[in-house]
């Protein structure tokens, strides 16, 4: 027997049906499959059936270890110096490859290292590229969220005026949003070009040739920064519109009251505008953060993760594993890790911005 809820809403269910079906097949089922696959050794195309492998995909991704080594000493107990004048340490490979005393380090590689007195501490990881991708993604989010949100707010404040032709400015700022990110990325590849790129020419012109030509996307120091700058530019118009809608919900009489009380522009922003934008600010912050964690298209079009893994990101890694290397279970595990990260960050943001009673 159908419940009353189902029966009395037949028309409603019929109307919602197509959308529900699409959501089910393209969101819910893939999501469930990703979780299931991440615990198996499923390949994208393989004649062998998948086997349940427990947490091995996650161990492979997140496995880390710390190893502290003392410098190599000669018979007299003095530290042996390498040719460049730094102390010499035993070879890492002697620990991470076929060393029965350190089975937990088997197959690991150096992620980074630092010195503490004489000894040198090595942080080893099973998947250095993935961890680099995690760090890069966090750098991207931490820079893009405040900068994009802040610039969008400034633009919104500028265009929230009754001026002749203000709609032209609104349209200009919004234009990059309606252009596909792939097209934008392709165009910016020309701008960032190392030889005859627009940016190099511009910098050369304003500095009369003092600034040397930089291969913005080909240099490990500038590639991520270049992608961050371009990404901020591309979506800033979208968030500007959200800020603008928030600004327009603030009653004009509040501004009039503030003006009569003698409030300066900054005080008006501080006491009227910003508190009035509270909910908008939370929305913008959460949306930018979530979008930024999904960084992929720009990387795929502009750098493919390089140079020297300096622009690897979590989603790019997931796609590369899953489809490039046909390791769909590894890619799924990355997706699940990303899901947990984004969920945690969102919950933290919600907690930090909660309505204080």
């Amino acid at each position: 027997m159908a419940s009353k809820f189902v029966a009395s809403n037949r028309t409603g269910w019929l109307m919602a049906g197509p959308a529900a079906l699409v959501i089910l097949s393209f969101v819910i089922i893939p999501f469930v499959f990703a979780i299931i696959f991440s615990f198996t050794n499923q390949r994208l195309v393989s004649p062998n059936p998948a086997e349940f492998t427990g947490l091995s995909n996650y161990r492979q991704l997140l496995g880390m270890s710390v190893l502290t080594l003392d410098p190599v000493k000669d018979a007299a107990g003095a530290v042996t110096m390498a040719a460049n004048g730094t102390p010499e340490y035993p070879s890492l490979r002697s620990y991470t490859r076929n060393n029965p005393d350190y089975p937990n380090l088997e197959g690991m590689r150096e992620w980074f290292s630092f010195s503490w007195g004489e000894a040198r501490t090595y942080v080893l990881a099973r998947d250095v590229v993935f961890l680099t991708a995690v760090i890069n993604t966090f750098i991207f989010v931490i820079l893009v969220a405040p900068l994009q949100g802040g610039i969008a707010l400034c633009l919104a404040l500028l265009i929230n005026q009754r001026l002749r032709g203000i709609n032209v400015f609104r349209a200009i700022y919004f234009m990059p949003v309606v252009v596909s990110i792939v097209v934008v990325s392709l165009l910016w590849r020309f701008i960032y070009d190392g030889d005859s790129g627009l940016l190099n020419n511009l910098l050369g012109a304003v500095s009369f040739g003092a600034i040397p030509k930089i291969d913005w996307l080909g240099n490990a120091h500038t590639a991520l920064g270049s992608i961050i700058a371009m990404s901020i530019w591309q979506a800033v118009g979208f968030h500007m519109v959200i800020w603008l809608s928030g600004l327009q919900t603030i009653s004009p009489t509040l501004y009039e009251a503030a003006a009569i009380e003698g409030s300066s522009s900054w005080q008006t922003f501080r006491y009227i505008t910003w508190p009035g934008l509270r909910n908008t600010a939370i929305l913008v912050l959460v949306v930018i953060t979530m979008q930024a964690f999904g960084l992929f298209s720009q990387i795929d079009v502009m750098t493919k993760g390089g140079p020297l893994d300096s622009t690897q990101t979590i989603v790019f890694q997931a796609i590369q594993r899953g489809y490039g290397k046909q390791d769909i279970s590894g890619g799924s595990a990355i997706s699940v890790v990303l899901f947990v990260i984004v969920l945690s960050v969102s919950l933290i943001q919600r907690w930090l911005t909660r309505e204080k009673a």
Binding site: S251, E256, A257, A259, I260, E261, G262, Y271, P275
Partner: protein
């Protein structure tokens, strides 16, 4: 001293002329009410005094200084808005202290002044609440608190009671009246409610279509309206107007009549009344009575409807030529609908306006 003078004040938005040359003198400490129907320009005029609207032409002075181009904060005015305009994210205390906060007053100064404002407005118990936890009347109290805390020389009220229910409106009206007595500041008050105007004002300015119709004390306007518009706007229920034939004019005396009105001679205070022409006779409902000794003027009609309010009775009559006529009797009386009635009035209480 904060006398306000408006001289030839004009306001236009492109081709639309909203204020068409207004001259008003407001003395220091006076309570002036701008009253008129909606769209008459009264709020615009107030906002021009506040500095929220530009002045297209003319001169505005406050305390002897020309204010035309000064920003609102330099005019020494405080304003209370119809929508309260209190800041939703601040407590009542922060709202009241706002003007002091932004001018960088010390903590002690803020505390004393806010406490004083809270005492005057009897809202000490509300100080830590947020605006969303307040009723409409309490919110308006907060807005008034924010206005008085800076001790401005001029208070501007823009329909402050329009969003309140009737009972609360009367309370707040009295509070504002008391506040004026206590502070002795100049107050300019905009309303479309003639009761507020009559009860609060030292001086009423009646506006219509961006022009001043009449300026004067409430009783002056009530008893000696300058034209039919002012006469009809003030007083409740509104004045009855009848079209009459002018039989004879003798100096300032005129004899008028129509199908329902027996010939009566009264004082014609307004120009343009000519023998043989038509005129408009204005009769306040309170000055009409069915009593035989009520006066020399006699109107004939019949009862159409009565409303008994206990202390007064409102009678709607229809004259023999089919025009509605409202009578307000200051006593409880019973009338049967449809019965013929003769209504009398003292000719000296009637107003004769040119058509």
């Amino acid at each position: 001293m904060a006398a306000i003078t408006l001289k030839g004040l004009k306001k236009s938005y492109g081709q639309a002329h909203v204020i068409k040359g207004v001259d008003i003198d407001i003395e220091d400490g006076e309570f002036v009410v701008f009253v008129g129907p909606s769209g008459c320009g009264k709020s615009t005029l107030l906002r021009m005094i506040a500095g929220l609207e530009d002045i297209s032409d003319g001169t505005l002075t406050i305390g002897g200084k020309v204010m035309n181009d000064l920003p609102p904060k330099d005019r020494g005015v405080a304003m209370v808005f119809q929508s309260y305009a209190i800041f939703p994210h601040m407590t009542v205390r922060e709202n009241v202290a706002f003007g002091l906060t932004i001018s960088g007053a010390s903590k002690e100064e803020k505390e004393t002044k806010v406490a004083e404002a809270a005492r005057i407005l009897q809202m000490e118990h509300l100080m830590d609440r947020r605006p969303s936890q307040l009723s409409g009347g309490q919110r308006q109290r907060v807005a008034i608190g924010r206005a008085i805390v800076r001790k401005p020389q001029v208070f501007l009220f823009d329909e402050p009671l329009s969003n309140l229910d009737a009972a609360l409106r009367m309370d707040m009206r009295m509070e504002i009246g008391k506040l004026h007595k206590a502070l002795g500041a100049t107050m300019v008050y905009v309303t479309h409610d003639q009761v507020e105007a009559m009860t609060l004002a030292d001086k009423i300015v009646v506006l219509k279509d961006g022009l001043v119709q009449q300026i004067g004390s409430p009783m002056e306007l009530y008893h000696h309206p300058a034209n039919a518009f002012v006469a009809g706007f003030l007083g409740s229920p509104g004045m009855n107007f009848l079209e009459v034939d002018v039989k004879e004019v003798n100096g300032d005396r005129a004899t008028v009549s129509n199908a329902a009105l027996d010939p009566v001679t009264l004082t014609a205070r307004h120009p343009g009344i000519k023998a043989g022409g038509k005129a408009r006779l204005g009769l306040r409902p309170q000055y009409l009575s069915p009593d035989a000794d009520a006066g020399a003027g006699v109107l004939h009609g019949k009862i159409a409807l009565t409303e008994r309010l206990g202390s007064e009775t409102i009678v709607e009559a229809v004259t023999t030529d089919g025009k509605p006529l409202i009578v307000a009797l200051a006593r409880d009386a019973v009338f049967e609908i449809g019965t013929p009635i003769s209504l009398r009035f003292d000719p000296e209480t009637a107003h004769l306006f040119a058509l």
